[in-house]
């Protein structure tokens, strides 16, 4: 009889952006069931924390509007009851599950920076899961956590939750478990950091590990977008950039793809990679291409009119700070003006439709070829402002409806939105963005130019590539390096941005891949350091080929066999020397590949493997708590803890 049951295991994976958790292991492993944003709100009382924004509402409001609808009155009463407020209290409290105003984020760059807040977050997660008494906990540890911090966590989990057993699993190790490979290079792209961990035979190589490389995660790319828009002076906020980044129209183009709207194909822009873009960006000409757009002739049809509007009017409606207008009480004016603009737009569109070139259907172009695109922006800030204005439920709903430009309202841009929606559905991951009902956040449509392809132009990819090179070069066993280059795992939610992984792989290839030297082709001797042929045929010595570009001479069967091993490789990706691993360098890499994700968990397959660490933790929890039952010291039990104290955790954690 195992010590623990499948359905009584908690797995928690804290992250800088969101914390995921699950109670119980299902028959077939599923993506995490509970997902909370990794933030808490300071409560009224010092040192206490609330999971949601709690708003104080003065009751003065009630006096002003005595004729409240009955249902709202009830609502308020209910709220009072649920909060344990006496009816005669002067202040009303309201929980707001959406707002993030004043939130405190306890984890930054993978490190825990605010311990009381972090503990409160863990408590919130634990209480939400509401586990039975006899439930062990497996915590996924970020690489940036130090051994002393592991002890602190151990103490907290044992003493606060009285857990019968506690385990810590390194997130990189967990990822490699998920992929079922013993040797790999795990590149975890998080919110504001990147970790590169080299794992050899299931053991992470701590000395050369790149921990929490700052400024390279998703947040770094958001900031890059923000600075690009800032230089154009469009009044974009960070939140807008964040949502743009998550939208499928934001894409990182493969190296060498010209930005749409860049007409000069022969310019350096077209042949270089983001690095070049970075250098141009550094010269303060980040808006360079953008400025070019303004003067370059535009394509016909929709683009023309939209472009005119963006240029001609400084008060570009899409990026106006509506919240401040509303707060200033000028909502009516704003709505009226918008209506007028809509009419003008409609008229312009009619005109445009008459133009002979309008039939070229620019909307059918793939995203990467279009110069401009729109996305729906959920304006939380505006919503917060409205809430802060103490409008009644009715007034609130009205204002919301008036300001919302979501696709449920028939606007003239409905066509674009429709098309966008199909794009999103294709992409699959942000469908909820549009399908949410009108009661949700207020949506506004924002149009962006080709800045949306430059999220990584700040040199993020190069920094990560350099970190990978450093991490693998730090491995003392030179002969292991080539295997590590062949088993990259790119994960983490920061890598979700469209095109990111392919762009990273091609950056690695162009910068670090070693081509076979033409000097060795005449020598028949194989260098002593060549490894024995592997099962994949990757290391099999082959008849010498011509120096370059002779791929046609490769044994087609062998080539087919090696490529079949890696069907996940993006066909568009540059893999110039798949077949050149015979070059005989002691130098690495002679080939760079990613590991194929596991396929035997259907739910995960649909979900994507960006959070593979959680899958690995599920595998780990099953193995450690159920199969192994503590024989290999995968977790610490309560008696162990009582005996050894928090420092004992180092003998148990993975």
């Amino acid at each position: 009889m195992p010590a623990f049951k499948d359905d009584q295991i908690i797995i928690i994976a804290p992250g800088s952006e969101s914390t995921v958790a699950q109670l119980g292991l299902p028959e077939s492993f599923t993506p995490p069931r509970l997902r909370v944003r990794s933030r808490m709100f300071p409560a009224e009382k010092e040192g206490e924390w609330e999971p949601y924004k709690v708003r104080r509402r003065a009751v003065a409001n009630k006096v002003e509007k005595p004729a409240l609808p009955q249902e709202e009155q009830d609502e308020i009463n209910d709220m009072k009851k649920s909060l344990g407020e006496p009816d005669d209290d002067e202040v009303l409290y309201e929980e707001d599950p959406v707002s993030e105003e004043g939130a405190v984020w306890p984890i930054s760059e993978g490190r825990i920076v605010n311990w009381p807040c972090f503990f409160a977050l863990m408590t919130h997660v634990y209480n939400t899961l509401n586990p039975p008494f006899h439930t062990p906990i497996l915590l996924i540890a970020q690489p940036a956590w130090t051994p002393r911090e592991h002890e602190k966590l151990t103490q907290f989990f044992f003493e606060k939750f009285k857990t019968p057993a506690f385990g810590l699993m390194d997130s990189a190790v967990a990822t490699s478990w998920a992929y079922g490979v013993h040797t790999s290079t795990v590149i975890d792209v998080g919110r504001d950091k990147v970790d590169v961990t080299v794992i050899s035979e299931f053991i992470p190589h701590t000395t050369g590990r790149v921990v929490a490389l700052p400024g390279c995660g998703g947040e770094g790319m958001t900031q890059q977008l923000l600075s690009l828009f800032k230089s154009k002076d469009k009044g974009f906020t960070r939140e807008m950039c964040e949502q743009l980044k998550r939208n499928p129209i934001c894409e990182i183009l493969p190296i060498g793809t010209p930005l749409p709207g860049t007409t000069d194909m022969s310019s350096s822009e077209t042949i270089t990679n983001p690095a070049a873009a970075a250098s141009t960006g550094a010269t303060g000409s980040g808006p360079g291409p953008a400025a070019a757009i303004g003067t370059a002739p535009r394509g016909p049809g929709l683009d023309t009119e939209v472009g005119d509007e963006a240029n001609g009017d400084d008060d570009n409606e899409g990026v106006l700070d509506v919240a401040s207008i509303v707060a200033g009480g000028k909502m009516e004016e704003y709505l009226a003006r918008k209506e007028r603009e809509k009419q003008e737009k409609l008229a312009a569109k009619k005109k445009g439709a008459e133009a002979p070139q309008a039939q070229s259907k620019p909307t059918r172009l793939p995203n990467a070829k279009r110069e401009k695109a729109t996305f729906m922006y959920e304006d939380h800030h505006l919503l917060d402002t409205l809430k802060g204005m103490n409008l009644g439920t009715k007034g609130m709903a009205d204002a919301q409806a008036a300001l919302d430009e979501g696709p449920s309202k028939k606007t003239d841009s409905g066509e674009a939105a429709e098309e966008l929606r199909s794009a999103i559905e294709l992409n699959g991951d942000a469908a909820s963005l549009l399908t949410s009902s009108n009661t949700g956040p207020i949506r506004r449509e924002i149009e962006v130019g080709n800045e949306r392809f430059q999220a990584a132009s700040g040199g993020v990819l190069e920094k990560i590539a350099d970190a990978i090179h450093r991490a693998i070069s730090s491995i003392e066993e030179v002969n292991k390096r080539s295997e590590l280059w062949d088993s990259l795992i790119i994960c983490g939610n920061g890598s979700k941005i469209r095109g990111f992984k392919d762009a990273l792989m091609s950056t690695l290839s162009t910068k670090y891949l070693i081509s076979p030297s033409s000097a060795t082709i005449f020598t028949s001797e194989l260098p002593s350091n060549i490894s024995t042929p592997a099962g994949t045929g990757a290391n099999t010595p082959q008849p010498q080929l011509g120096p370059h570009g002779s791929s046609s001479q490769v044994n087609p069967l062998l080539l087919a066999a090696t490529t079949a091993q890696n069907p996940h490789l993006n066909p568009g990706m540059a893999m110039p020397s798949m077949h050149n691993s015979h070059s005989g360098h002691g130098q690495t890499p002679t080939s760079i590949r990613t590991v194929k994700p596991p396929e035997y968990f259907p739910e995960w397959k649909d979900f994507g493997y960006d959070e593979a660490a959680f899958l690995g933790a599920q595998v780990g929890a099953k193995v450690l708590f159920i199969v192994d039952q503590g024989q290999s010291k995968g977790y610490m039990t309560r008696p162990d803890y009582n005996e050894q104290g928090p420092t004992g955790i180092h003998e148990y954690s993975l």
Binding site: G102, T272, A276, S515, A519, T520
Partner: protein
């Protein structure tokens, strides 16, 4: 009263069993730190650090791999060590070592949440007040207030330097107990030997340390600059002197490369920098390429003749060489050159030299240093010592250097049998001194050797010379 040898340690005076000590092994190229009792140092950071001017006019120190490889304008890369393996810049060294300990072992002291920029936009007043209590506690704590510290020192360090070590540990870091171990002795411990001769081929210096019963024979300690950095400089000379010169372009300069024929000029797209990175940064990044070259191409020459014998080098030229590709795509076959890099360590006459890199002295080569060290050892002890030749240090990983040392020493000392001891595991070879420290500090019987804070307060820094010889 000297409480060292006779009296048993008080539990409150010395570290208890359950608190693990920290072992810090600073070197020229990297600084190793970790918990005693573990088999590898958890924290290995480069000893090089960056210094960049900030907008406010002061300068900002950058420590750790993550921050020193970015080509920032005006970023200078420096090293607190002098090129002959002695700490020069104590202030920065202290900061660097503290970083090595706090970044990966103990964790940073939490910065005030109102200042770290994470919670911008929150109600600062409320937040600040809340954390005052928490910080009040932490301010009293120094980074090592809970852990005893074992540090390593080079074989030949001055009394003043040793006093500085304990001063830093006690005053700046507040460690409750301290010990200073010599790298040679600790490396011997890691191999399980109390007597022997340790050849430590590091980055800046090669040290030969004779050890008898766990004590260093100070007279016999030899030091020379023929080590890893010397080999890098030889490589630079080889590249510069070859016809045509081999270009050495570090990775950060290259945006993308394309394959070219061997020896043909590189066809790469280079990056443009508004402010070109400093020479020290470039040199530091070039060193990464040289390291890769040393790892994958360089081999120690092993006869039959000496490389300096006329004709040997010519015959090598016809042999197949090893290719190496530079970050910009330039690639070349290296045949005779790859043997010349390490030759100077054994034969000063074959070392390449130019005005900046003078020819090394004959007595600086490894065989001559071993000879000089053995000379100081009692004749009766020589067989014991020569039977335990321990080889350690990062540069000792050069391909086939062990065979060469064995050959040289066997020729020099034919009578007592030479036995080389070198950990096969590369990690153990590189971090031998740290591992020795880790073993030592975790021994139960070691506890009486710690110098406690109390003793330090009583006697001052000079206690180090009294207690640790």
């Amino acid at each position: 009263m000297n409480p060292s040898s006779a009296t048993a340690p008080n539990t409150n005076e010395y570290a208890g069993d359950e608190i693990s000590a920290i072992v810090l092994d600073p070197g020229y190229s990297s600084t190793r730190a970790g918990f005693a009792g573990e088999d590898i140092p958890k924290s290995v950071i480069p000893s090089y650090y960056g210094i960049a001017p900030t907008a406010s006019g002061s300068s900002q120190y950058l420590f750790g791999e993550n921050s020193i490889h970015n080509p920032l304008p005006n970023l200078e890369i420096k090293n607190p060590w002098s090129s002959d393996g002695i700490v020069e810049d104590w202030d920065t060294a202290t900061k660097l070592w503290e970083y090595a300990i706090t970044s990966r072992l103990t964790g940073q002291r939490p910065t005030d949440p109102t200042k770290n920029g994470l919670n911008d936009g929150t109600n600062g007043e409320e937040n600040g007040q809340m954390d005052v209590d928490m910080d009040g506690l932490d301010d009293a704590e120094k980074p090592l207030a809970e852990s005893p510290l074992l540090m390593t020192e080079p074989g030949l360090s001055s009394a003043k330097a040793r006093e500085k070590y304990i001063e830093i540990a006690m005053e700046d870091w507040g460690t409750p107990a301290f010990y200073l171990g010599k790298t040679g002795v600790l490396a011997a411990f890691a191999s399980g030997k109390a007597s022997g001769i340790v050849i430590d081929i590091g980055a800046s210096t090669t040290t030969v340390t004779p050890i008898v019963d766990g004590l260093v024979l100070k007279k016999g300690v030899q030091k020379s600059p023929l080590a890893g950095n010397y080999m890098s400089n030889q490589l630079r000379l080889i590249f510069a002197q070859s016809q045509p010169p081999v270009p050495l372009t570090p990775h950060f300069m290259v945006a993308s490369k394309s394959p070219v024929d061997a020896g043909a000029p590189a066809q790469a797209i280079y990056k443009k920098f508004e402010v070109p990175p400093t020479a020290s940064f470039r040199r530091f990044e070039e060193e990464r390429v040289l390291t890769e070259f040393k790892e994958s191409v360089v081999e120690t020459w092993n006869g039959p003749n000496r490389l300096s014998v006329p004709g040997t080098e010519e015959s090598l030229k016809s042999a197949p060489g090893r290719p190496f590709e530079m970050p910009d795509g330039y690639n070349q076959l290296f045949s005779a050159e790859r043997f010349k890099v390490a030759e100077g360590l054994f034969d000063a006459s074959s070392a390449l030299h130019d005005p900046d890199n003078p020819r090394p002295k004959d007595e600086q080569t490894i065989p001559r240093m071993v000879q000089a060290a053995i000379h100081h050892i009692d004749v009766d002890l020589r067989p014991l010592i020569l039977g335990n030749v321990i080889i350690t240090g990062g540069a000792s990983l050069t391909y086939r250097i062990m065979d060469r040392i064995n050959n040289e020493l066997s020729q020099m000392f034919p009578a007592p049998r030479i036995r080389l001891i070198a950990p096969g595991n590369t990690i153990e070879r590189k971090y031998a001194a740290w591992i020795g420290g880790s073993i030592l500090a975790s021994l139960g019987s070691f506890h009486q050797l710690w110098i406690s804070k109390k003793e330090y307060e009583e006697h001052g820094p000079s206690i180090i010379d009294k207690r640790i010889k």
